[in-house]
């Protein structure tokens, strides 16, 4: 009985989403190849960001709402390469190199703050995101072009300092996604080359009944796969084991000689740096940087996706990440159109999608807290020796 309850509780969220999607996909009227193409693009775009959440969860620090700090660091890196006019893969690498030290500093700061707020890491990291957002805006809006040298007039506001709201990332747009041009097609044989939009693309495989060609962001997927391998390996290292021990119980970890505070800071630093790379990958796919808004939704959408994939505040796997990306973004794609076809108002689908994102986070947090309190109560009872109530 208990097992069935747990099974349902653990997988209720993904199940509900599968059901919603099952209804919404036919309503939207999109073709299969369109949906697959969109999903592949979004997996490439978002997975890395979501994967960066895994390590703090492992260390028992909950959902790292502070990942937006990393996103901001990545954006600062991108602003610099835009100013210097470095394009292509070297541009992306350079952006990562610039972003890394900023992300490390922010991560250390975040880690120290969270160590002071044990037990309420999530709300603290959430507010910290807002706080650093203020600092970021101050830097980008007032200091860049004034104290920090930015000279490219295409980047600066007409008043001479401060960065424009929309920055075109044309120089690095899609460079990683299209590094190895690959498609899936329904018409021609596998193993051949096909010219798609002027670029010669390798036909990876052929699926019958598929209409048109689906472009695969192969290099991005390879990077993501490598990163998954890294996480699997990292869990087995000494540091990873320490983090898991801390995630189980801080006091036990402390008495067995694990430097709890230091390890927690490392977990947050890793997460922040990875979020920085994740944001760079995300923006190279988007192709434009909304200087003051791009990072705003990053944390919320990544966390919602992870939770929809069946993760909880204390337990998340790589499988959760991919299930979450697919389910969340499937809804993202179909909800507005389904809403329009169903009620005649696209705005409702739009609001529904926002509501679901927030609602799912709320429900997951509630379920987690509820379960934890119940377990705590049960542990206390068993300590007293009478299991059947007080």
């Amino acid at each position: 009985m208990r097992k069935i309850f747990d099974l349902v509780a653990n997988n209720a969220v993904p199940a509900v989403f599968i059901i919603i999607s099952a209804f919404a996909i036919p309503l939207s009227g999109y073709s299969a190849s369109y949906l697959i193409q969109e999903l592949l693009t979004r997996i490439g775009r978002n997975s890395f960001l979501i994967l960066s959440l895994l390590i703090p969860i492992m260390a028992g620090m909950g959902l790292n709402f502070g990942m937006v700090l990393g996103a901001m660091a990545g954006q600062i890196g991108l602003l610099f390469i835009c100013d210097w006019g470095v394009v292509g893969i070297p541009g992306m690498v350079l952006a990562c190199l610039i972003g890394t030290p900023i992300a490390i500093v922010l991560g250390i700061f975040c880690g120290h703050v969270l160590n002071r707020a044990k037990g309420r890491e999530m709300v603290t990291s959430y507010i910290l995101g807002f706080f650093i957002n203020g600092v970021y805006q101050m830097t980008v809006l007032y200091l860049m072009g004034w104290v920090i040298p930015i000279t490219n007039p295409a980047l600066l506001l007409s008043r001479g300092y401060g960065v424009r709201n929309a920055v075109s990332l044309l120089g690095i747009r899609g460079v990683l996604d299209n590094l190895i041009p690959t498609i899936i097609t329904g018409t021609q044989g596998a193993g051949q080359f096909l010219s798609v939009n002027g670029a010669k693309s390798y036909i990876l495989m052929q699926i019958p009944f598929l209409e048109g060609a689906i472009r695969i962001p192969l290099a991005t997927l390879v990077v993501i796969a490598l990163f998954c391998v890294f996480i699997v390996w990292f869990r087995k290292t000494k540091l990873g084991q320490d983090m898991r021990a801390i995630g189980q119980s801080q006091s036990v970890a402390d008495s067995s000689g694990i430097p709890v505070n230091r390890t927690r800071i490392i977990a947050i630093v890793i997460s922040t740096v990875l979020a920085c790379y994740g944001q760079i990958i995300y923006l190279q796919n988007m192709g434009t940087l909304n200087t003051y808004n791009s990072h705003d939704q990053t944390g919320m959408f990544s966390i919602a996706a992870l939770l929809i994939g069946g993760a909880s505040v204390s337990r998340a796997t790589i499988a959760n990440v991919f299930a979450g990306v697919i389910l969340f973004h499937l809804m993202f794609i179909v909800a507005p159109v389904a809403g329009k076809n169903l009620i005649g108002d696209a705005q409702i689908g739009e609001y529904f999608r926002v509501f679901v994102s927030y609602g799912i986070i709320a429900i997951s947090l509630v379920l987690h807290a509820w379960r934890r309190n119940r377990e705590r109560e049960a542990a206390r009872r068993s300590l007293r020796g009478n299991k059947g109530g007080e």
Partner: protein
């Protein structure tokens, strides 16, 4: 003694108070009128005061800062929009009541003369029960998630706001000043309260001196309303229920041992917070002049939370004085930075300063208690 004062007040508070003082001193030199700024600060104080007051019960009952304030705000928005939707009916019903029960003063003339205050009162009367019901459920929810209240409150607020976004589109409102003109349905994003209850509190008994030398405007009515609400909360916190509530907040185990129903007290506190939030937004709207729907209430909890913390409250202790000092400081900075800093630097830094001050303050409070506990 000075050191003790600094310790009691806390560094961030002193820095911000000095900053505000500096802004007031600097104002005349950059051509900003001190009296106008002071009037604006007072108006904003009155607008936001009740919403900050809404933090007290939950903090005192140990539920943490009410990041779920948008829930109360939604109740207030429902009250406000319904009071306009049914304005004619309510007034007609009132004068009908007078005729029916032979109350001589409750006649058409009275109702027409007092239609604005009556409309305002009806908004509050509709909003309070809605807030009480929502608050009851919200309180029950928070009782199940002890220890994680603040994060969950945040997301309860967010999800209720985004849920209401759908509701505002679908609810069968009909009043022509409120729905979209071309579609005839779905509420507009901002609704003017002009002609209904614009400035009913602000302009009653207001002191308005506009001469060549002095531009002073004091919204006496609104400040009195805030004072009445503050006194009510103050009295309530000293009744038996209020004392029990404080006991629950400071030591739940002890409170339980002395026979206080912890969960019940917490629910009452959450309901009170939600009701005060609902009343607070209506006060805000009558002064602001517009009802902001859809994503309007989304981030409204943060300024209120930051204000009370700025006033010296902590995550588990808050009083009326914290509300008054904090709201004045916070709104003072919001009023003064755009005017003073803009005339000095020729740029608008107010948004950035607001972000840093309010969230920095919340961060400070969240990280402080742990250190004190160790």
């Amino acid at each position: 003694m000075i050191r003790r004062f600094i310790q009691n007040a806390g560094w961030p508070r002193i820095i911000i108070a000095l900053f505000l003082l500096g802004l007031f001193i600097a104002a005349p030199f950059v051509g900003v009128r001190v009296d106008t700024s002071l009037s604006n600060t007072l108006v904003r104080f009155g607008m936001n005061g009740v919403m900050v007051l809404a933090m007290i019960p939950m903090v005192q009952a140990g539920c943490g800062l009410n990041f779920g304030l948008p829930l109360g705000i939604i109740a207030g928005l429902l009250g406000a929009t319904l009071s306009i939707e049914w304005n004619t009916e309510i007034l007609a019903w009132l004068s009908g009541l007078g005729t029916q029960y032979k109350i001589s003063w409750l006649n058409d003339m009275f109702v027409t003369a007092w239609r604005e205050p009556l409309g305002f009162a009806s908004a509050i009367i509709i909003a309070v029960p809605i807030a009480a019901i929502l608050g009851w459920f919200y309180g029950k929810l928070l009782n199940r998630v002890k220890g994680d209240e603040m994060m969950i409150a945040t997301y309860v607020g967010f999800s209720s706001v985004s849920f209401m976004c759908i509701a505002w589109l679908l609810l069968p409102y009909k009043h022509p000043t409120m729905v979209w003109g071309y579609a005839g349905k779905g509420l507009r994003t901002t609704i003017s309260v002009e002609g209904y209850w614009l400035h009913v509190l602000s302009d009653s008994l207001a002191l308005n001196i506009q001469t060549d030398d002095i531009h002073l405007y004091i919204p006496t009515g609104m400040l009195i309303f805030f004072a009445v609400m503050a006194v009510l909360v103050w009295i309530f916190m000293r009744t038996k229920t209020g004392t029990a509530m404080t006991a629950v907040g400071s030591n739940p185990e002890f409170a339980r041992a002395s026979g206080v129903n912890v969960d019940h007290m917490r629910t009452v506190a959450v309901m009170m917070s939600t009701i005060l939030g609902a009343v607070g937004i209506i006060v805000y709207e009558q002064s602001f002049g517009f009802i902001q729907l859809y994503m309007g209430p989304f981030y409204m909890a943060l300024p209120a939370v930051a204000s009370i913390l700025l006033g010296g409250a902590s995550v588990n202790k808050a009083g009326i004085l914290n509300v008054i000092v904090g709201t004045f400081l916070f709104q003072g900075i919001l009023t003064m930075t755009p005017s003073v800093i803009n005339s000095y630097l020729q740029t608008d830094m107010s948004e950035v300063i607001r972000l840093i001050v309010s969230n920095g303050m919340i961060l400070y409070a969240l990280t402080r208690k742990v250190r004190a506990g160790r």
